[in-house]
Point group: C2
């Protein structure tokens, strides 16, 4: 595995080993909790004494806490360790063209409240005002919380990583909008903003628990108004130079295909977005530009209902989207050869209707039969993948490994 250390190398100091092992312990607790010190020692192949020291440190830093005692066949019972996520909460916000979704979750992404929904104001200032008020109400209504670690916001658009400014969000009609500073000022909490596809990918990586046999590289494809793709390579979110890596939505299927919101023709997005699916059903061209509540008369969910009711045109429209979904997935899979592809968006509720079309289209263009068999996991809307992603934006860094060489 030739891996040339990147230029800003990190010299190992006296504390580096401890830091590495401490982080491994923290992540093992996260992935396997509840778990005892002795189990950690066995898993890591170190002495129990080493674990004791590390765990004592984590206990002092309140990163983990001791809970119930477990069961053994015989011998002293172990004391279980847990990530201390009891009183530390995270605000997750999902801003979309029509609605904004809000949730309070614990440090591991477990929802602490229901999901609050309200209409998205196209004016960023107004939206921040509404958001701040709703967030305060949400925190107030949850009494057990004594610390909120921050706010994670996901948006359907390009975000500059260093400043977290929203460079361009076509469906919202935003350009160069900064939510971070005003929202942080209004709530007094740190704010993280990220593209929704990227955040979803992070959340899926983050959600991995237990002894899953190393997932490898992951891709999250989010299909809604547009197509957002988040990529995890080597256990890390792929950002690229300008934090726009993963824009497979604008890789062409056909150069002279339908016009896309991005200005080019024949992008994957122009074939599989919700608009494209609806346009296919209604036999008209997909509308571009910001979508407002006034256009929300008939959604993809409605279309799927009709398809399930036996509407032949609806079935055809959904299956055609499935076919193009598969053709585009072939590009993603040929390009990245990931271990697993997650699919999110409204269309996943019709997964049973389209899986066949997706798979057969994928087989047509996948370069090898093994690639064509790449695992595809639909993520239902009920799992709120985007809100999970927003939560992960705030929570994940606490567990992140520093790259030491």
């Amino acid at each position: 595995m030739p891996r040339i250390p990147p230029a800003p190398y990190q010299v190992a100091t006296r504390g580096t080993s401890r830091e590495i092992n401490s982080r491994i312990v923290l992540n093992l607790v996260r992935a396997h909790q509840p778990i005892s010190r002795a189990d950690l020692a066995r898993k890591m192949g170190v002495r129990r004494s080493a674990i004791t020291l590390i765990v004592n440190d984590l206990l002092k830093r309140r990163a983990v806490f001791e809970g119930a005692t477990g069961q053994t066949v015989r011998g002293r019972k172990p004391t279980f360790l847990y990530i201390d996520s009891r009183r530390r909460a995270v605000i997750a916000a999902d801003i979309r063209a029509s609605d904004t979704f809000l949730m309070l979750s614990d440090l591991l992404g477990k929802p602490l409240t229901g999901v609050v929904t309200f209409q998205t104001s196209p004016d960023p200032k107004q939206l921040v005002k509404t958001l701040a008020a709703r967030i305060k109400a949400l925190i107030a209504e949850c009494p057990g919380i004594d610390a909120c670690e921050g706010i994670g916001v996901v948006v359907p658009g390009m975000v500059e990583h260093s400043t977290m400014k929203i460079l361009h969000a076509p469906t919202l009609g935003w350009r160069n909008v900064s939510l971070r500073e005003p929202l942080a000022a209004a709530t007094g909490l740190p704010v993280q903003v990220e593209n929704s596809g990227r955040a979803c990918a992070l959340a899926q990586l983050w959600a991995l628990r237990g002894d899953a046999p190393l997932p490898g590289d992951l891709v999250f494809v989010s299909v809604s108004d547009g197509v957002g793709v988040g990529v995890i390579i080597h256990g890390e979110v792929l950002r690229g130079r300008h934090n726009i890596a993963g824009e497979f939505g604008h890789v062409p299927l056909s150069l002279d295909g339908p016009r896309c919101a991005c200005g080019a023709n024949g992008c994957w997005e122009a074939y599989v977005s919700n608009r494209a699916t609806l346009a296919r059903y209604f036999g008209r061209a997909a509308t571009a530009g910001p979508e407002r509540a006034s256009q929300r008369h008939f959604t993809v969910e409605d279309l799927i209902v009709r398809a399930r009711a036996g509407d032949a045109k609806a079935i055809a429209a959904v299956e055609t989207t499935g076919r193009y979904l598969g053709l585009g997935l072939a590009s993603v899979i040929n390009a990245l050869d990931p271990s697993r592809v997650y699919i999110g968006g409204e269309i996943t509720s019709a997964w049973d209707l389209i899986e066949g079309s997706v798979r057969s289209a994928l087989s047509e263009r996948a370069l090898t039969s093994a690639a064509a068999r790449t695992e595809i996991r639909p993520v239902a809307a009920s799992e709120y993948p985007r809100l999970q992603g927003a939560a992960a934006l705030v929570a994940a860094p606490a567990f992140a490994a520093s790259i030491v060489a």
Copy 2:
């Protein structure tokens, strides 16, 4: 930078810090040689004493050696350190459809001999026999060498990483061919086999010297009979689950475009491969299947000569290839947002003729203007990028960092 440690975590042991720092020293010497101990200490921000211990160990292991003394304004003169590449050589082999190229290089990729060329036998057994004989002759003719570290072989096709078996090389007409074992048996040297695009990418990463401000993610696009793409993400070669990541050559430009050797239609490769360029000039469909010496009458190099001589049809053919090159690069750049793209292949000798077409096509489909300005570096055939890649296959692991967390 949330990075969740992948499952097979590596616990830090007592020696881990030393190992990390030792590898940093080795890579700093590689990137900055000649360099003194005191300079290393300053660069790394550690005491000179720490460097002394590490360097002594590297000296004992013969990884570095002490050379001339340098100059200072005043004070004791430093003794320079060098990677010990004097007597340790590497065999680089580049197997292509028509010809095979062979070279002996030192551990840093510097050629020690000229490039040997001979016709590629379509029969693997015969090829191994020829290769082994030529390699022995090459080593014999270079008297200063007392250790050959191994043989790096690059092929235009898919290679299984664990066994290094060639799964499919369309232009050679090979399926499930193993070169590693017979060649290792015939020469007594370890053999590494890899796809040429991937190896080229590794070589470019590898070639980075000095204080280059961290390159970020890199892509190498090799245009010849087919299109091979190698990707470096986070300082590491992107392999994917089946070691076929980077097959951008078969991402479509148009689903109903010309037939590709892979069986699908409209792949990027079908627009920009040398065959496609020649077919465009001769106004016929590109030929598929293995290419043999008998077909080598008129090459892309010949076409470029005609274009430079003013042949309007030749200019048009080359420029059209440039345009499609740019359109496909847009997909690569939108997908990965790399810091830099290297282009290899015969067509690069006409880079001055096609750069304009490439750039304008790229601008058409790149998602942002910053992405459209992504640095593109043609790599001339005279630099032998594929042979450099073959050499890197053997040499790079010696400097590779182990991922510790």
